[in-house]
């Protein structure tokens, strides 16, 4: 395990990570959707490439966390980090890659002046909620609401 851990590298997102992020998503969801990831990666790169991180194992991207920094949304005037999407290749889960990605993202967001990190979770996704609680997330005072309009 320690030999494997030595080869893990957490680094900033680049445009050449799109193919691997698409592949990880495909493994997790069973859907191949490169257009979505081209769009999302472009969004995060143009905002702040260092706020989003990927995990490499032996030079291959096996996990990613897309995040950015915002302020003034939903009446939250404080500078907040938002984590939108993340994923770890199922073959490489259980190696604390999600935690390592989160720590790298938080370190950058702190340096940018963020005091809080926020995210949203599907109510039925117990595994994801469990992971987020394990790395320190707690219930927020905000509640996500929506209305179908078509």
């Amino acid at each position: 395990m320690s030999a494997v851990a030595e080869q893990i590298r957490i680094r900033s997102l680049t445009e050449l990570d799109i193919a691997r992020i698409t592949a990880i998503d495909e493994r997790l969801t069973g859907v191949y959707r490169p257009e979505i990831w081209e769009r999302r990666v472009m969004f995060y790169l143009r905002r702040d490439p260092d706020a989003s991180q990927v995990a490499e194992l032996n030079g291959k991207v096996v996990g990613f966390m897309l995040a950015d920094i915002r302020g003034g949304e939903f009446g939250l005037e404080e500078t907040s980090g938002w984590i939108e999407r993340f994923g770890v290749d199922p073959d490489f889960q259980g190696r604390s890659l999600g935690r390592k990605l989160f720590e790298a993202v938080v370190e950058h967001l702190k340096g940018q002046g963020a005091t809080t990190v926020r995210t949203l979770v599907e109510k039925g996704d117990a595994d994801l909620a469990k992971f987020l609680r394990a790395i320190g997330f707690q219930d927020a005072s905000l509640t996500a609401l929506e209305i179908r309009i078509s």
Binding site: T14, E15, L16, A19, L45
Partner: protein
């Protein structure tokens, strides 16, 4: 991590805007379209951005461990001259790329691609502005023999054909060049900026992180449109073909490799603490990264053509097709993109004028090599003055009338020389003004 934003003294700020009016008329479209294409992104700022909190200690070279230099005279004469040449070359590339992009910007088939490139151009303008800040905020006259305004004037007077580096002296043939240039040539920029983060001259080092963050978008503005073109090409769209993309790679890759400098060089940069890698090492990493970019494009093509394949199967198929020069599932190796050999079509460095072919084969007959180049380069580029001059020089080397070293020095021969502002032959870009504010405002960015 904080960034301090600085505006140039008014006469220089105005000179940049004056240059923009002549060379970058589409700049005005950016603010009015910003919310549509870049919603919620911070607005574009034409200013110099200096990273606050860079380390105070020299990281590499003879002065490693000493305090970073903050004034040119602290560097010593030879290092200061060397760094000044780097800053001027960097400034030339920034303004030069805008002139190149502008020529074919309006030909983009997709508005989103066009506005991405437009933002790239605006950020290149900011990077040129950043280099001017370095030139005019300190006194370089001891090593330049010029006043600051003369240096600025000289750079703003350059045109495609008279820039410092060859890659910025080639006209674009179509919007394919805008995109491939962003993916291939801006990638060299990323390497240079990354290496220069360690620079022993603190103001230069502090300029790099904000530029690098913007460069990440530039590379994406190259790679993502190409990924979409490749997918459409796989589905039968004939408007942007794999062959067109391949030929654009063949046009730009040799110039990109040469931007690192001679493969045997780079010692001075390390010794003076300006960069942390020698030319050959950086060039090799760059070539490997371009190889990965092309592999991703090929995988995107194959998955669009044969959706049943997994990512791993698509990657393996691409490798097999290229290795065996074969055909499978209706895909030929010729449908895929490959990087030209490092020695292909070179005019600088180890392989200059050695007649290395696309796949690394060596030619002995110059006319056969010219036909090989003609088959691998974009047709409109073959009609260019640059190409004619290259072929004439190559023929002279092959005939023994000039040596390779002489040929290297001949390229590029200036097609156009710089000039004063085209508004009037008597008006210069930089004009003195009574107002001369240089406000500084800190900003978390």
């Amino acid at each position: 991590m904080k960034v301090e934003q600085t505006t140039l003294p008014k006469k220089y700020h105005d000179a940049v805007l004056h240059w923009q009016r002549h060379n970058f008329p589409d700049y005005g479209l950016l603010p009015e379209s910003w919310q549509k294409y870049f919603p919620s992104d911070p607005e574009f700022c034409l200013c110099a951005k200096m990273e606050v909190g860079m380390g105070d200690t020299v990281e590499v070279g003879d002065a490693k461990g000493q305090k970073r230099r903050e004034k040119p005279e602290e560097l010593g004469e030879e290092p200061a001259k060397h760094l000044l040449a780097i800053i001027r070359a960097q400034a030339s590339t920034e303004f030069g790329s805008i002139q190149q992009h502008e020529g074919t910007l309006a030909r983009a088939q997709d508005d989103e691609d066009r506005f991405w490139v437009l933002r790239v151009m605006a950020e290149e303008l900011r990077h040129g502005y950043q280099m001017f800040h370095l030139l005019v905020s300190q006194d370089w006259s001891g090593v330049s023999g010029q006043k600051a305004e003369e240096m600025v004037e000289e750079i703003l007077s350059m045109q495609t054909g008279s820039h410092v580096l060859d890659a910025f002296n080639l006209e674009y043939d179509s919007f394919v060049d805008n995109v491939v240039f962003a993916a291939v040539i801006d990638r060299v920029g990323k390497y240079q900026l990354s290496m220069q983060r360690v620079c022993s001259y603190k103001p230069f080092a502090a300029s790099m992180p904000p530029m690098l963050r913007e460069e990440a978008f530039h590379l994406a503005a190259g790679v993502i449109p190409m990924r979409r073109w490749v997918q459409r090409a796989a589905q039968g769209n004939v408007l942007v073909t794999m062959s067109a993309i391949q030929k654009a790679f063949n046009k730009w890759m040799p110039r990109g490799l040469e931007m690192f400098g001679h493969e045997k060089g780079g010692d001075s940069n390390i010794r003076f603490g300006f960069k942390n890698m020698k030319n050959a090492e950086a060039q090799s990493l760059y070539y490997d990264e371009c190889t990965r970019m092309v592999a991703d494009l090929n995988q995107r093509f194959i998955r669009a053509r044969v959706p049943k394949l997994s990512p791993e199967e698509a990657e393996a198929l691409a490798d097999r097709l290229i290795r065996d020069r074969g055909r499978h599932d209706g895909i030929s190796h010729e449908d895929l993109i490959q990087l030209p050999d490092r020695g292909f079509f070179r005019r600088k460095g180890d392989a200059a004028f050695t007649m290395v072919g696309f796949s690394g084969e060596t030619f002995t007959d110059v006319e056969e090599y010219v036909r090989h180049l003609a088959a691998h380069l974009p047709e409109p580029y073959l009609h260019s003055r640059d190409m004619k001059q290259y072929v004439e020089t190559l023929r002279a080397v092959a005939a023994g009338t000039i040596t390779r070293d002489q040929a290297i020095k001949k390229m590029p021969s200036l097609k156009r020389v710089g000039g004063m502002c085209p508004c009037s032959k008597s008006v210069r870009w930089v004009m003195d003004s009574a107002e001369d504010p240089a406000p500084k405002r800190p900003s978390a960015n």
